[in-house]
Amino acid sequence: MEKRELLVLRDILGTNKKIAGEIRAKLKEKGILAVNLMSSPGSGKTTLLESLAGRLKGRYRMAVIEGDIETERDAERIRAQGIPAWQITTGGACHLEAKMIGKVLAEVPADLDFLFVENVGNLVCPASYDLGESLRFVLLSSPEGDDKPKKYPEAFLTSHVLVLTKSDLIPRLPFDAARARREALEINPRLDVFAVSALTGEGMDAVEAFLVGELEKLRSAHA
């Protein structure tokens, strides 16, 4: 019996990154802007998508992939807006992985403008898994507190956009939106920051305009 050392030097999440890269290339080639939404549970991801569905409907084609540990509830909420939605139930896993998206994509129509992926509600684990998105959104709702960016830096570090949600509640809460924004920008100065209330519609025009602008950018880069 011989004992020896074997040098490996392989990224353990490398397989996920590879699949994500393939998904990203495929979606970009089709001119589809894919957005991965991450946040704690109850920060308003589904409500934000319902609001966007109402706004984009008729002018843009969108679809949603929902990730949850259990139930079809979120997909049903999106379908009620007349938007096709697929539910992935992870059965306990705390995040979505690229191969789960790849499996669902086989059923998703290719003639889309926007594909939103609502990740499992969790401000930690989803940040480590590239899903092949072009844009990563992190949501932070005012009831969660303005101190979260520095407590959960990875989600803010890896995102392109921060959406401060439930802005209509701020007058009733000790939530300092300027602090949340400042601390998030200290972690990642390249974040685009929006403050919205998806329920009242406040701030949603800016998010919609941003998404449409990003879709145009993606289309012109891949024309």
Partner: protein, 114 residues
Amino acid sequence: MHELSVVAGLFDILEEKAREAGAVRVTAVAIRVGRLSGVVPELLESAFDSFKKDTIASGASLRVETPPLRVRCRSCGKEASTEEPLFACPDCGAPGFEILEGMDIFLQKLEIET
């Protein structure tokens, strides 16, 4: 809390490499866990211990190394190495870094018996 799926990914690579090398046993596994990888070394060790049963690495020990975070300031370009979270460049004071090391989890090496 996704240590188990990280360990599953680790075993995919481990089993492939051990097979290629004609190993009969894997006796030690060394990994490098980035400080911003979102993975907790202690939980990874527990996940490894429950996963390794009935595999080629059933008797293997796990060594987890957590190297300091290495960053490059986006403003002045200086590189810094830190054990603690860093929110401003120690050199010029500006926020915003490119992460050079700290996001990934690497399987570094295996000790095998052939």
